[in-house]
């Protein structure tokens, strides 16, 4: 039995070399061996749940005419006051969203401060590897180009996602993405007054759908104590969003088809509607959750 195990292990050990050399002039018999060796992989019919990055929201609200409000974001000077790993992971997400906010509004000096804060916190929570040399050089080379701010901010955010996925730290990614989303919704909710049919209000109401994805993502890591704690907060917010109704925008159902100009359009179906009272409730709940994070 032991000999058999060693034989299997040896065959598996040899296989990668055979795979990599299969395009060379090696003898054909070795290619046959490649096909005989099997790799063990997980059964992989999976569902992935994605959350839009903060920049998508901020670019939109800037375009909607909302002005930059420095008082809404968390001061970088407070970064050293967060001491536990959970506090630091959450606040990393918050500062990442704040960085996207300052970059979207081309607040050059502020962006530099937030970038330094995010980078420093990355070391504290053990993800400094996300800020590799190539990324850092790219950012340094573009420091004097305000128009590159958002691209730099996005590069660092996507690099963090990539790093955490590669290192199978989905729980940490979930906490960072949640905190970033909470900060984004907080900034939008506190930047607008209730004005029915305004684009920014609609975007806020639409977060009901984004929160669905976020909760489904977090459920995958529901065994993690920190994720569990975060989900309790978000469940309360989910209940307030659940009260928002969905009304049909047209008499026809949803469709993805070409319009008269030949452009594909996703239209019809229902749209989330937020009343003034619901706006106040959502804003109050998001402020309460955000206060628990930034303290």
């Amino acid at each position: 039995m032991k000999k058999r195990n060693i034989l299997v292990v040896t065959l598996l050990a040899v296989s990668p070399y055979l795979m990599y050399t299969s395009c060379s002039d090696d003898k054909p018999q070795e290619d046959v061996n490649v096909e005989q060796v099997e790799e063990v992989v997980k059964e992989r019919n999976e569902s992935f749940y994605q959350i839009p990055a903060p920049d998508e929201m901020f670019s939109f609200i800037k375009n909607s005419g909302l002005t930059y409000n420095k008082s809404l974001i968390n001061s970088p000077q407070k970064s050293s006051t967060y001491s536990t790993p959970m506090e630091q992971t959450l606040i990393f997400g918050v500062y990442s969203a704040d960085l996207a906010y300052t970059a979207s509004y081309e607040e050059f000096n502020e962006s530099i401060k937030y970038f330094a804060t995010v980078q420093k916190l990355a070391e504290s929570i053990g993800i400094s590897g996300a800020f590799n040399e190539e990324l850092m050089n790219n950012i340094k080379n573009n420091l004097d180009k305000p128009e590159q701010l958002l691209a730099n901010s996005n590069d660092s955010y996507f690099s963090v996602i990539e790093y955490l996925e590669e290192n199978e730290q989905g729980n940490k990614l979930g906490i960072i993405a949640s905190a970033g989303w909470i900060e984004t919704v907080y900034i939008v909710a506190n930047s607008i007054d209730y004005k029915k049919n305004s684009d920014a209000l609609q975007r806020l109401a639409d977060q009901k759908l984004t929160l669905d994805n976020l909760m489904l993502y977090l459920e995958k890591y529901g065994e993690d104590e920190n994720v569990k704690e975060l989900m309790v907060w978000l469940k309360e917010l989910e209940q307030t969003f659940d009260a928002l109704s969905e009304e049909n925008t047209t008499s026809s159902g949803i469709s993805l088809k070409k319009n008269e100009g030949g452009k594909m359009v996703l239209g019809g179906g229902s749209s989330v509607v937020m009343t003034k009272d619901q706006f106040t409730t959502v804003k109050s709940k998001i402020n309460e959750i955000r206060a628990k994070i930034v303290k």
């Binding site: 059964e43 992989r44 839009p52 759908l209 949803i254 229902s270």
Partner: protein, 219 residues
């Protein structure tokens, strides 16, 4: 001891290439999915790559916002074939009323000549000694997931690009299916050959929907 050392070395030799291929898959969409020529589009953080095997179907749940254009580009390793099915569904939670029936066995009581429940001198109902089945109906509201098919690339020449404008914010599912089945033996359904696997990337790009025509008060 020598055997253990050999096994450890062999293990490293196996694991390292697999880890390398998994890492290669993670950034597949940024390297192999062709981005738009339109400079207005920016990379969307909901893009994703993953390792797939033949016969596998997986889904990517994304949010598309009103007032934005999206471009989806699919790319994949040749080992997975040339015709990969890509479907777009809308998914939503809907509240559905359901009637739940519960059956219980309860005591049967005597009835008088008018069909009313008879009572004894103490005013209590009089059991017959038999039991009858009672059906209770309760209406409850449950939340169900509803899926509506919006696009199927097999009806579009297995196109690997899709571009559209969004008029109402939606939760979409991008479903990718790899044709064929893994050629591992039936008894080892979780084992498969390297040639049955490959990376699939879904590159998502977005931009604010351009305003068409003249804008402003005009003179």
């Amino acid at each position: 001891m020598k055997n253990l050392k050999n096994i450890f070395l062999a293990f490293l030799t196996i694991v390292l290439p697999i880890l390398a291929s998994a890492q290669y898959c993670n950034t597949f969409h940024t390297k192999y999915c062709p981005p738009s020529d339109n400079g207005m589009y920016t990379l969307n953080g909901q893009s994703k790559s993953a390792l797939f095997s033949k016969g596998q179907t997986s889904e990517l749940n994304v949010i598309v916002y009103k007032g934005q254009d999206y471009r989806i580009s699919l790319c994949f390793d040749q080992t997975l074939g040339s015709q990969i099915t890509f479907k777009v569904y809308e998914t939503k939670k809907v509240k559905v009323e359901k009637v739940i029936e519960t059956k219980t066995m309860e005591d049967e009581y005597q009835k008088d000549e008018n069909g009313e429940l008879a009572v004894d001198e103490w005013g209590a109902y009089i059991p017959t000694g038999n039991q009858v089945e009672v059906v209770n109906k309760e209406t409850i509201t449950v939340v169900e997931k509803q899926k509506t098919l919006l696009y199927d690339n097999s009806q579009d020449g297995f196109a690997t690009e899709l571009e559209f404008s969004v008029e109402t914010t939606r939760r979409l599912i991008f479903e990718v299916s790899i044709p064929g089945s893994a050629s591992g033996s039936a008894t080892k359904s979780k084992l498969m050959k390297s040639s049955d696997m490959g990376c699939v990337g879904i590159l998502v790009e977005h931009m604010l929907t351009p305003i068409q025509g003249f804008k402003g008060t005009g003179f």
